[in-house]
């Protein structure tokens, strides 16, 4: 199946029009020395029927979450995805469109992005949001470099309670522009504000905090915020979980200058970690806006005064500014942003809050049950959102493997980080039966 529309007769007609004999003539400018020698060593194409069989065969070699109970989180969350999202984003005018360069034929995408920006502003409490970033990790990284550009400083305070994958991405990005990272060590999965007080100085571009942090705990946001604000020019970057923002205070309330995060939870599903959806927002400040990476949609009017939407402030972008651009980001995650927009519209303020509450209450139910088990202990009992650290006398890897035999993935093995324990995540999708099954299994292990 080749998806080539022209027939042999039509090709001949076209060759004639061009004035050549055969298609190969079109490639004569390619020097022989660099020409591909042979046919590509890729098997001949297969039909749709065979493709679907092949896809099913690959799926059969997986064990998906359809086949087991999962308490995995650690940055990728199994929240419910309402069916209308796929029904709507499957409309081909949305998903087969390019970036909306020609605004007049792209009002659908543009208006939806404007709505997305509005809802991100609402969630974060910030004044400006861009049209999306590649994922949570890269959004955090670009926010850090943005902070460095704004403050013209290079020092970054990076607690170890930030998602370790994000920390790695931040450092990778930082290596390009030679940033200087100060790692902070937590106690009991939380950062002592005194530590920040100690490390912050006049070279500090930005303090990064995660809300809730990687271990599910809520940091001492107020205290830390005060410390950062006292250190003039240093920016506060908060990496926020958007589901939590339905329930708990906006990052703006803690004085955040830039807010980023991963919005895969808002309707994108798991997909093995991608496409995810990075979001980014900042204070309504012209100087910050000029340094914001990514696309931005703005409302304007047409020649007849009718309102409409355009890509705006493109002078920050690479196709105009080239090496002076605020970022190289071009293709972003527009379709996932649309998913999030539909998700937030569908859930509404009550629904998003209820997702947060249910996740909270279920996680706390499970934590309490587990904590009562002999030999098990929940570290961060009170101030967690929907993830917590389970410690045991037993080896966490062995524990996880044992439970896997009962079709339960207990959580993320903190040994991967050289630490101990299991990071257990509960969303509104987990049922009481599923949680009780985990408790029961642990009881008899």
């Amino acid at each position: 199946m080749d998806y080539i529309s022209n027939t042999a007769a039509e090709k001949n007609k076209m060759l004639k029009e061009i004035g050549i004999k055969e298609v190969k003539d079109l490639f004569q400018m390619i020097p022989e020395a660099v020409a591909a020698d042979d046919e590509l060593k890729i098997k001949a194409g297969i039909s749709e029927m065979e493709l679907m069989r092949k896809a099913q065969a690959q799926a059969a070699k997986n064990k998906s979450l359809d086949q087991q109970i999962s308490f995995l989180g650690a940055g990728a969350y199994d929240h419910y995805v309402p069916g209308i999202i796929d029904a709507l984003i499957s409309r081909s005018e949305f998903y087969t469109a390019y970036t909306p360069y020609q605004a007049e034929l792209s009002q659908g995408t543009l208006e939806a992005i404007y709505e997305y920006q509005s809802m991100i502003c609402d969630l974060t409490g910030m004044g400006i949001a861009n049209a999306s970033m590649l994922d949570g990790g890269s959004a955090a990284a670009e926010a850090v470099t943005m902070a460095a550009r704004i403050t013209r400083k290079a020092r970054v305070i990076l607690p170890d309670t930030i998602n370790p994958a994000y920390r790695e991405v931040i450092k990778t990005y930082g290596s390009g522009v030679d940033l200087d990272f100060i790692d902070l060590e937590s106690e009991n999965q939380i950062i002592n504000p005194a530590l920040i007080e100690e490390k912050i100085d006049n070279q500090t571009a930005v303090v990064v905090l995660q809300y809730p942090n990687f271990y599910g705990s809520i940091e001492k946001m107020e205290s830390i915020s005060k410390i950062v604000k006292n250190n003039k020019k240093t920016l506060l970057l908060i990496i926020a979980n958007p589901i939590l923002l339905g329930l708990l205070k906006a990052p703006a309330d803690f004085g955040a200058d830039i807010v980023v995060g991963e919005a895969q939870s808002l309707g994108s599903g798991l997909n093995y970690g991608g496409p995810n959806l990075g979001f980014m927002a900042c204070r309504d400040d012209r100087k910050m806006l000029r340094q914001l990476p990514g696309r931005i949609v703005g409302k304007t009017t047409d020649v007849e005064g009718k309102e409409g939407f355009v890509l705006t402030l493109q002078t920050r972008e690479q196709h105009i500014r080239r090496e002076k651009a605020t970022s190289n980001i071009c293709t972003n995650e527009a379709l996932n942003a649309l998913m999030a927009t539909i998700y937030l519209s569908t859930m509404g303020k009550e629904g998003l809050k209820e997702v947060g509450e249910q996740s909270y209450h279920k996680a706390h139910y499970l934590a309490a049950k587990l904590d009562q088990l002999a030999g098990y202990q929940v570290l961060n009992k009170e101030n967690f959102f929907n993830e917590f650290v389970l410690k045991s006398e037993k080896d966490s890897t062995e524990l996880i493997n044992e439970l896997m035999k009962a079709d339960i993935i207990a959580g993320y093995d903190l040994k991967e980080l050289g630490s101990e324990g299991i990071l257990v995540c509960v969303t509104e999708k987990r049922t009481k039966t599923e949680m009780d099954k985990l408790v029961e299994k642990l009881e008899v292990l």
Partner: protein, 477 residues
């Protein structure tokens, strides 16, 4: 506004969601997090039918490849087969968590491994990372590899050379990786000027970034000379894979002695662009650069496929997980159904279509470079500009005829540029229709330029005021 904002459908207390009842006892949220509870959220309160109608209405104000031709140069807007969407919605392949043990995911990892092998075969690169989530992300990743490579060798190389016809992401990515960008002019044939290159090259040169064919659709005939020149001063040569659709089965970046490159799965390998993403920008490198690839790297041993994190020289991670897996599923499906010989035919027909369009249009629009071109070509609207309508006007007028416009004012080396790339999935019927429309517009400019200058007329909104948008930003409701 043709369709009001979703918030304008909002009514206090209206609901569009459903959740199962909470089965467990509530814990003391109000007490535990008393200082944190939120009061000020203002999300819309709408019903399911409100949401469905609103976004259906918005979709009808949009234009996708399924609506018609999308001749955006360098964007490779080919038709995206529906079967790929079915694969990308196979629950056993998608409802998987990035931290499940690899033993549970051998089906998916095998599939990704096949994709890696196929990309390597197409490009003659030795090792591939699938992690970058877009083309620009792949560029940035590549330049960090370049940087790390030289850092390891303790060579201080600060300069990246970029032709003036390059995609804007090239210099931007180089800058993000901390390099100084040196732009070199093209020669009168639209190719790299070897003298300018020689002049720019020195022991500070880290890399030359090049796309081939370049953004004029012209294949750099001296490519081996170019790569040799860069290698001679100890620099690396990077291939911008945005134009891969022009050469599959005919040439390979690896054989042109490029050292590293990125792919755009959402261009060459037919994954839909989603109105601006998601894309996927894998990076391929020659063996000597493989140690620098982001971690983890997908590997295979005798027992299984696995993610290799033990990569001391790696630049680190550029994505939270493994990149845009959902996009990879579609690209995998595409390559499987098209096959090796099909990829070559794809290229042949993309080039045939572009050359056919060029032959039909070159008399009525100025062709700034006479050189043979491949999958895309650039016209100039300067003749029409003199007659009273700019390239922007022509682009807007195309919209009146229900067709999308070419990429305009790019590459920067051509005045009033229109960069046209039809791709292989258009047929002679849609091409002829596009030509006819372009000739009509050209005639209109001669006879009644006002109608073109004031275009578009029949779109949902008419020409939008971009200056005002930038001057007084209205960025949210």
């Amino acid at each position: 506004m043709e369709e009001k904002l979703i918030k304008d459908y909002s009514s206090p207390g209206r609901k569009g969601y459903s959740l199962p009842p909470l089965e467990v006892e509530k814990s003391n949220l109000a007490e535990n997090l008393a200082d944190y509870l939120r009061e000020d959220l203002e999300l819309p309160e709408v019903s399911e039918v409100d949401v469905v109608r609103h976004y259906t209405a918005l979709s009808e104000m949009n234009y996708g490849v399924d609506s018609g031709i999308y001749p955006l140069g360098s964007c490779t807007m080919k038709y995206n087969p529906k079967r790929n969407e079915r694969v990308a919605r196979t629950s056993g392949l998608t409802n998987i968590h990035p931290y499940q043990p690899v033993e549970q995911l051998q089906g998916s990892l095998e599939l990704l491994y096949q994709l890696k092998l196929d990309l390597a075969e197409i490009s003659a690169m030795d090792e591939i990372t699938l992690q970058p989530a877009s083309g620009a992300h792949g560029e940035f990743t590549s330049l960090l590899i370049v940087k790390k490579y030289f850092a390891d060798r303790e060579e201080e190389r600060t300069k990246v050379i970029v032709p003036d016809s390059a995609h804007g992401t090239n210099p931007a990515s180089a800058a993000m990786a901390g390099f100084d960008v040196v732009e070199i002019a093209s020669n009168e044939r639209g190719m790299v000027d070897l003298d300018a290159l020689a002049e720019a090259l020195d022991e500070k040169t880290a890399a030359l970034m090049l796309t081939n064919p370049n953004t004029l659709g012209i294949f750099e005939e001296d490519i081996l000379k170019i790569t040799e020149m860069v290698h001679e001063v100890g620099g690396l040569v990077y291939y911008d894979g945005a134009n891969m659709n022009a050469i599959m089965g005919y040439a390979k970046p690896g054989l042109m002695d490029f050292d590293l490159m990125h792919f755009n799965l959402h261009k060459t390998f037919s994954t839909p662009h989603g109105g601006g993403g998601p894309g996927s920008g894998p990076v391929g490198v020659k063996d000597f650069l493989a140690p620098y690839l982001p971690k983890p790297l997908l590997k295979k041993d005798e027992e299984k496929y696995y993610w290799d994190y033990q990569r001391p020289k790696s630049i680190g991670k550029v994505h939270s997980f493994y990149g845009n897996y959902g996009v990879m599923l579609r690209a995998w499906s595409y390559i499987k159904t098209v096959g090796g010989s099909g990829l070559k035919e794809t290229t042949e027909n993309a080039v045939l279509n572009a050359n056919y369009l060029k032959a039909k249009l070159k008399n009525d629009f100025e062709l700034p470079y006479a050189e043979d071109s491949l999958h895309e070509f650039v016209l100039s609207g300067s003749r029409q500009k003199e007659e009273g309508a700019s390239t922007l006007n022509i682009a807007k007028r195309l919209l009146d005829y229900d067709q999308y416009a070419p990429t305009i004012y790019f590459p920067l080396v051509v005045k009033e540029a229109m960069m046209i790339e039809p791709t292989e999935t258009e047929n002679i019927g849609t091409l002829d229709h596009f030509v006819e429309t372009m000739l009509t517009i050209s005639r209109e400019i001669k006879e009644n330029p006002e109608i073109v200058k004031n275009a578009p007329h029949s779109t949902i909104v008419r020409k939008l005021n971009e200056t005002e948008a930038a001057r007084n930003p209205d960025l949210h409701w």
